[in-house]
């Protein structure tokens, strides 16, 4: 399979996963704000932090009111990680490989892009927001199903899974990072009664609440939630699970020694770290390190298999 094609499959998967996670985030934040008293509600600022776009956001805006943040996250094309940006990235990548991916999946991506664009006003109306975002999530899920059910499960499919799981691992750590920082940074006792709600919202933004209940059978507390969210072998959005999936998909690829070594290290690190007992500061540093290691894994794939990595090699050899 062409290097450019596997690269584009990888990015299509990453952008679609990013889309789904952004929609989840906004949805859960909306719900959370309805449950919390105004005085302690974290507002919309954390979402800007989660997407790692604080600096570019502050260049354009000086407050974090709902409408501004939503506009930035949903349809601002000049934001580096908005829904609109992720979807046009998915669509453009998919367009260059429409001869490889199943026809229906291209049509679905196209339809999803058009739906999100044509209906983006709904996100500003509280009563329509859930429907809009949920539709996006459902369409992303449909696409995952379409790929699973109709695409040849060859090397291309391996890169689809790799892209999806790397993006998912990354997004999960971002959500935990920002959400838990809010929770613990404030020593204010008045927060306590709502602590539970906030940890529930962390779980819910990852669709993890029900699965946590089934799997952990303990009451919701910081340590158990962190342990579950980072290290669960069975929960599909837990970084440990995601990286294990990446490893599994990499097994069948040729010349996989370098990426596999890196993945193995990250996986060991994930399971060995006593994440539930990390102090807030340490947790934040740990998450930073994890995100760096995900980037390194991505780079290892690029170097070994992708056209962009391939061309870089050649340029270095030429000069």
């Amino acid at each position: 399979m062409l290097s450019r094609v596997v690269e584009m499959i990888y990015w299509t998967a990453r952008y679609l996963e990013r889309t789904e996670n952004l929609a989840r985030l906004i949805n859960v934040n909306s719900n959370l704000l309805l449950d919390l008293p105004k005085s302690i509600a974290p507002g919309w600022e954390p979402l800007i932090n989660i997407t790692g776009t604080r600096e570019s956001y502050l260049e354009q805006h000086d407050d974090f009111n709902e409408r501004t943040v939503l506009a930035y996250l949903v349809n601002q094309n000049n934001s580096p990680s908005s829904l609109a940006k992720a979807l046009s990235g998915a669509r453009e990548s998919a367009r260059t490989i429409r001869d490889v991916i199943p026809r229906e999946s291209w049509e679905q991506i196209n339809a999803l892009y058009l739906y999100a664009k044509d209906n983006s006003n709904k996100v500003f109306v509280k009563s329509q927001r859930f429907e809009y975002l949920n539709n996006i999530i459902l369409r992303c899920q449909t696409l995952n199903g379409l790929f699973a059910g109709t695409m040849n499960q060859d090397e291309g499919y391996s890169f689809l899974l790799i892209g999806r799981n790397l993006e998912r691992a990354d997004m999960t750590t971002r959500i935990i990072d920002v959400r838990s920082a809010d929770l613990l940074a404030d020593e204010n006792q008045s927060l306590q009664p709502f602590d539970l709600i906030q940890w529930m919202s962390v779980l819910k933004s990852l669709s993890a609440y029900q699965m946590y209940r089934r799997s952990m059978q303990v009451k919701i507390n910081r340590s158990a939630v962190l342990k579950f969210l980072f290290q669960s072998e069975v929960f599909p959005r837990a970084p440990y699970h995601c990286i294990a999936k990446v490893e599994f998909s990499t097994m069948d690829l040729p010349n996989n020694e370098a990426p596999l070594r890196l993945i193995g290290r990250v996986k060991r690190d994930l399971i060995d770290t006593d994440v539930g007992n990390l102090e807030q500061e340490a947790l934040h540093e740990y998450i930073d390190q994890l995100q760096l290691s995900f980037i390194n894994i991505g780079d290892a794939f690029s170097e070994q298999y992708f056209l962009s990595g391939n061309m870089q090699h050649q340029q270095q050899a030429d000069s």
Binding site: M1, R98, D99
Partner: protein, 483 residues
């Protein structure tokens, strides 16, 4: 009943379906009757179903727009087919084969011994200014001696009912995917229509295309690696490139996917490393193919590609330089070219053409600018033309100057009245002008698509069928009356 044939204006031009207002041609009787039996709401239902089907299938041509990135627009398909008998088609098919065979011999001769120039059949001056003659191709002998592997010839029918060849496209002719998709859509939407007729299928084109491409591989013993080379997603025909690659099961590559190594062979970069490529169906113009030889700025092409091709390490379809024979001045010589190489009379006629480099022709052209269509030799897509009957005195004067200063670059033809086909216009049937583009594949044998792409000018009285200027298309039926 909504379609009333008695109100249909069939007599003004040659109509492909109707002889007179209420009288269909023999092969179209059942079609006309069926269409007349449809109610207004039937028609509306079918039209909407067709549009939806096209959108779903994703048949689109791209219009690039900076603000919004790229936009796909659906290409309108008119639901009334164009119909032609197998008997008539077979004559046309034979004529096309003869024509393309002669053109291939002609191109090979031009880049070889140039006998036809030495024998004075075609004057040397024709090539002095030819934009599409490529010196870099002189002396090259591509496999089987074929240069134009895929040819799209545009046919039009004049008032007299005769089919003429209007032009040949020997570089990167496009449109075949629309022909294939149109049939797919029509079968989905209109299955009842197909019951009354024995319509010859068109869907074997991708496999014939693949067989043709495989047959020109420089390594015939192995299973050849065939790829489709596209300029990328912003090209207006990208849909077609992707479609054909998908249908043939080939890789769709961009220039940056390919690399020519020190051994002068072409490789594609795969995730497993480099893989040798044998045949490239290129959908990039000559001048962008290889920055080492042609346009140095080109990032679409592959450095070293011409080297590899000249050493016969890779086959290119169409061969670089093949476009020399779709020059409008060369067109005028096609009857002589056929006579010269095949010793036969031309069987599918050319449109009468005045060659301005000849004094007698030039005089006639200058005196009749208001009646003629004047075309420059090397433009395509209708650019730089003068359409006499609809031109102003000022424009005619401008063209008179142009012709006098560079007579070798101009030809002129009488204005044709293209034939019409009944077309659905706001739930009414009206005649609209059409042309037809069959595709001819040449390698060890010559094959022609069954029928071709019928393009229709959707604007009343317009003769412009181009998709970018209000054109649409129709399914083209070649019907076997005996079956």
């Amino acid at each position: 009943m909504t379609i009333e044939w008695k109100n249909y204006q069939a007599e003004k031009f040659y109509d492909e379906l109707m002889i007179a207002s209420n009288k269909a041609r023999p092969c179209g009787k059942k079609l006309a009757k069926y269409l007349a039996s449809l109610s207004n709401s039937d028609l509306e239902t079918y039209r909407i179903a067709t549009e939806l089907s096209i959108k779903e299938i994703g048949v689109s041509f791209t219009v690039y727009n900076q603000e919004e990135g790229s936009i796909d627009r659906s290409w309108p398909l008119d639901i009334f087919p164009r119909i032609m008998t197998k008997t008539e088609w077979q004559k046309i098919e034979a004529g096309l084969k003869q024509r393309v065979q002669a053109l291939n011999l002609f191109i090979a001769d031009l880049y070889g011994e140039q006998r036809i120039l030495k024998d004075g059949i075609v004057p040397k001056e024709v090539f002095k200014n030819s934009k599409n003659f490529r010196e870099q191709c002189i002396g090259v002998k591509p496999p089987l001696g074929i240069w134009a592997h895929i040819c799209g010839s545009d046919l039009v029918r004049d008032k007299d009912g005769v089919m003429y060849v209007l032009e040949d496209n020997l570089r990167v002719p496009s449109g075949v995917s629309y022909m294939l998709e149109n049939r797919l859509v029509m079968k989905r939407v209109f299955p009842e229509l197909f019951e009354d007729y024995s319509i010859l299928p068109v869907d074997d084109y991708p496999s014939k295309l693949f067989d043709m491409l495989a047959s020109i591989s420089p390594r015939p013993a192995d299973y050849p690696e065939v790829v489709v080379l596209t300029p990328g997603i912003y090209n207006s025909a990208y849909f077609e490139h992707a479609y054909l690659a998908q249908q043939m099961g080939c890789e769709l590559v961009e220039g940056r996917d390919l690399v020519v190594h020190d051994d002068d062979c072409v490789y594609m970069r795969t995730m497993r490393g480099l893989k040798r490529v044998d045949v490239i169906y290129r959908r990039i113009d000559d001048l962008f193919l290889d920055p080492e030889v042609f346009n140095k700025e080109s990032t679409l092409g592959v450095p070293g590609l011409m080297r590899a091709w000249r050493k016969n390490n890779v086959a290119l379809a169409n061969a670089p330089g093949a476009g020399v024979a779709d020059d409008k001045v060369v067109y005028a010589f096609v009857p002589k070219i056929i006579q010269y190489y095949l010793g036969e009379e031309i069987s599918l006629p050319n449109v009468k053409t005045y060659i301005c480099m000849y004094e007698e022709d030039r005089k006639y052209v200058l005196a009749n600018l208001d009646k003629l269509v004047v075309k420059p030799a090397n433009e395509s897509g209708g650019y730089g033309m003068l359409v006499g009957p609809s031109s102003t005195k000022k424009q005619q004067k401008q063209f008179a100057e142009l012709i006098k200063s560079n007579p070798g670059n101009y030809i002129a033809q009488p204005t044709l009245s293209l034939s019409t086909v009944p077309t659905l216009v706001k739930n009414k049937v009206e005649p609209r002008h059409v042309d037809m583009r069959p595709f001819i594949l040449s390698s060890d044998r010559v094959e022609v698509t069954t029928g071709g792409l019928t393009r229709v000018a959707l604007v009343k009285n317009s003769l412009v069928v181009n998709s970018s200027q209000g054109g649409g298309s129709k399914d083209t039926w070649i019907v076997d009356e005996e079956a």
